[in-house]
């Protein structure tokens, strides 16, 4: 388990991290969300000591993170980078050895990963001879090469095509299923919603929302109703406590408070809901949670 405990970092007058406290749990995928410049990269760098905190602590299994622990962490920085002119296999074995493995062990591990990601045939080529997609895969192996207990990935999905996105999703879920703690940042909220059990939302260096995604959605007072219907649109103003968010031909989305009288609402529909095709009552999507949290 990775935990941030009051982590604070200032750059001159800018406070990049402001008493950040949250945890990322083992065996789960934690999505790290926030607008650009909110402090995601700084927080991730702090895990690896690349940013020295002014105050607060980053803990791993309850103990402050030290160099020895970092050997069991995997990191994929936002700005990708490896040695462009080094051969793929040599490069990964070198990194694995830097992270503390013996030569034979490192080689076996690298070969297994190259095989798994379909790069075995390119192992002795220079990195810059590979396509962009394959370079991304090598970068991912660089983070995974030592079977890390903690995986920190900064925007792992950016620049990936749909097929690569689903491959990456599968891989990350797989890592979590094997007991790893996985923390990654992303702007693709629908993806995070599908993939993650936990989310952390940061804004101006402050954590504004953190926890189990389903719990967060459940505790929020708003609920959303989607209505599909046939015939002329009803007069939405008559559904008094509900606010219309969007309406198109045959579809409407309404925001209501939790615990609204559903029967009354249905009764208020024209013809007592005669033209109704479908009706769903749901907690907010991650998109809505995010917008709410960041706007507040």
């Amino acid at each position: 388990m990775l935990s941030f405990d009051g982590a604070t970092k200032r750059f001159g007058l800018l406070t990049a991290l402001d008493r950040c406290t949250f945890t990322a749990r083992a065996g789960r995928l934690t999505g790290f969300l926030g607008p650009n410049g909110a402090g995601k990269t700084t927080a991730m760098r702090a895990v690896f000591g690349l940013v020295e905190l002014d105050d607060g602590t980053v803990r791993w299994q309850g103990r402050p993170v030290s160099a020895a622990e970092r050997e069991r962490f995997g990191y994929m920085p936002e700005e990708r980078g490896l040695y462009p002119r080094m051969r793929v296999r040599d490069q990964l074995v070198y990194l694995s050895r830097l992270y503390g493995r013996g030569t034979r062990d490192a080689t076996a591990c690298v070969d297994a990963w190259l095989e798994r990601l379909g790069l075995a045939g390119r192992a002795s080529e220079r990195l810059d001879r590979l396509s962009h997609g394959n370079q991304q895969r090598v970068q991912l192996i660089a983070a995974l090469v030592n079977e890390p207990e903690l995986l920190v990935l900064d925007e792992p999905f950016s620049g990936l095509d749909p097929i690569a996105i689903s491959a990456m999703s599968e891989l990350l879920s797989d890592q979590a299923a094997q007991g790893a703690t996985v923390l990654f940042s992303s702007h693709q909220l629908d993806l995070v919603e599908d993939l993650c059990q936990d989310v952390v939302i940061i804004e101006h260096g402050r954590i504004v929302l953190a926890g189990d995604l389903n719990d967060l959605r459940a505790t929020v007072p708003q609920r959303f109703i989607d209505i599909r219907y046939q015939g002329p649109p009803p007069d939405w103003r008559r559904l008094a406590p509900a606010a219309l968010i969007e309406a198109s031909d045959g579809h409407a989305r309404l925001r209501v408070e939790r615990g609204i009288d559903m029967a009354a609402l249905l009764a208020a529909l024209p013809g007592g809901g005669a033209g109704l095709v479908s009706f769903t009552y749901q907690p907010p999507t991650l998109q809505e949670l995010f917008r709410e949290a960041v706007a507040a």
Binding site: R10, F11, G12, L13, L14, A16, N36, G37, A38, G39, T41, T42, R45, A46, F48, G49, L50, V51, E52, L53, D54, D55, G56, T57, V58, R59, P64, V65, S66, A67, A68, R70, E71, F73, Y75, P77, E79, R80, G81, L82, Y83, P84, R85, M86, D90, Y94, L95, R97, L98, Y99, G100, A142
Partner: protein, 493 residues
């Protein structure tokens, strides 16, 4: 705990060094440079032998001549270190044909006329003329009734030796040439391998691989490993080249290797290592300030300027290696690697002087590693435009506190950090363009004064110009580097 941690960073530094050796060692550019250097050195040693056919000369004899002439020519030539082969021709015509065909260098016709193909070879001419005179005098003495014994004692050779005077007693011009070449080789090696460190650091920074590396190892191990790896590669290249030179000398046989003693060579090697470590640390630190490989040249500027200036200073001091000025530059750590080996070779040092200078240089290297390590650590993760030295220094972590990132800021490390922050907003002297210009003017003034003083002290205008111009060039570069792009320091989001 602390022990295993430092063990681990040593292990990591060694891995970095091995990577440098392996990757660079098999790059085509490196192999080409090794071959080029071997070829250049071999050519330098072998070609002169091939062109100056310092071998035997051919002398032809024809017509009536004293009986002992052939033997005397050989003797005289041997005294002048020339080997001659004597050929006899039955007629003048056949002898002249041999001259025209180039089969002989000179034809002695009837012991009184020398015939050459073109301009006479003065050495050979002197030897042959002396032989003819000697034989003639002996002949006349016999005619005059002087006994051969008396004659021999009269004509006994007077030993005359010639000495090439150098500037220093006991050292000749050949030694001076050897020293200049040796110092030049040192300059070349230090700057070549030093700038390899610089471009290496810059490549790691611009390709962003450095973030992946530093997530798992201290910045100091990365820099130390890089310097060690390239240094070992450099030593290997020097060793291979020296071996090739040795083979070439042995094969060519007759080359006169400048009499440079083993102790001098050993000291030159020591000074290569010291000079390389010192300048590689500086180059590595400067490299971390840039962000694109194109920044390499401007970043290397000040260090290369100091190196070249110290080479010329050492070059100028060769004539008076025991002077105060020579002593100063051979002790000043930045110039010592260029100046001290020459003084040692010129026999101008007491035994303790190189030892003391080496210790001073070592201490400087230690200080530079501490300062450079701090700048490197903070600058290497900074992206965006090239960083100024001062900004890098100011945002630097307190050395050794990197691992406390996780343990929370201790009060002791938090304090200086806050102090940096407070000074962050203040505008400082060099940001103001007028005071910047003032500083440059003041430095130029100091430089001119220094140059004039140096010229007066050494009574040598060239040294004065070098000292003054060097000072101005180096300090202004430093000022530029120090104050470049004043803005908020490293601010990753």
């Amino acid at each position: 705990m602390n022990g295993t941690k430092s063990m681990n960073s040593v292990r990591q530094a060694w891995l970095v060094a091995k990577r440098e050796i392996r990757e660079r060692g098999r790059s085509r550019a490196f192999l080409a440079s090794v071959l080029l250097m071997i070829a250049a050195v071999t050519a330098m040693l072998v070609l002169p032998v091939l062109f100056t056919s310092g071998g035997a000369r051919d002398v032809g004899l024809t017509g009536p001549a004293p009986a002992r002439l052939a033997a005397t020519i050989s003797q005289q030539a041997r005294a002048a270190s020339i080997t001659v082969r004597i050929h006899h021709y039955p007629s003048l015509a056949s002898g002249e044909r041999a001259v025209r065909d180039g089969r002989i260098d000179v034809l002695v016709a009837g012991a009184w006329r020398l015939e050459w193909r073109g301009r006479p070879d003065n050495q050979l001419k002197a030897a042959v003329t002396a032989a003819i005179q000697l034989v003639t005098v002996q002949q006349r003495a016999t005619t005059a009734g002087i006994s051969p014994g008396t004659m021999r004692s009269l004509l006994a050779p007077v030993p005359v030796t010639s000495v090439e005077l150098g500037h220093v007693t006991g050292r000749g011009p050949a030694d001076e040439t050897a020293v200049i070449v040796m110092t030049g080789v040192l300059l070349f090696c230090i700057s070549v391998f030093g700038s390899m460190v610089l471009t290496g650091v810059l490549e790691e920074k611009s390709s962003r691989v450095v973030e992946v590396l530093l997530a798992h190892m201290p910045a100091r191990s990365l820099l130390a490993g890089k310097i060690a790896g390239i240094g070992l590669l450099g030593l290997a290249q020097i060793a291979v080249t020296a071996l090739a030179a040795l083979v070439a000398v042995t094969a060519a046989g007759s080359v006169d290797v400048p009499a440079v003693r083993a102790t001098v060579l050993a000291w030159a090697l020591v000074w290569f290592v010291l000079g390389y470590l010192l300048y590689a640390t500086v180059y590595g630190t400067l490299g971390s300030l840039g962000s694109r490989t194109e920044d390499a040249q401007s970043a290397a500027g000040p260090a290369t300027a100091i190196l070249v200036v110290s080479y010329f200073a050492a070059f100028a001091m060769i004539a008076q290696p025991a002077s105060a000025a020579a002593r100063v530059i051979s002790f000043f750590p930045l110039t010592a690697p260029m100046a001290m080996p020459g003084r040692i070779a010129m026999g101008a040092t007491a035994w303790w002087e190189p030892v003391a200078a080496a210790l001073v240089t070592l201490a400087t290297i230690a200080a530079l590693v501490a300062i450079g390590g701090r700048i490197y650590t903070s600058a290497i993760l900074h992206s965006g435009p090239a960083l100024s030295l001062r900004a890098a220094w100011r945002t630097a972590h307190t050395p050794g506190s990197r691992t406390t990132a996780g343990t929370g800021a201790l009060p002791a490390t938090a304090l200086p950090q806050r102090a940096h922050l407070r000074s962050g907003g203040r505008t400082t002297m060099t940001t103001d363009p007028t005071s910047h210009r003032l500083l440059v003017t003041v430095l130029t003034g100091i430089g001119i004064a220094l140059g004039v003083t140096a010229a007066l002290l050494t009574r040598d205008v060239i040294i004065g110009v070098i000292a003054g111009a060097g000072f101005i060039a180096v300090t202004i570069q430093m000022v530029k580097l120090w104050g470049r792009h004043e803005g908020p320091p490293a601010t990753p989001h």
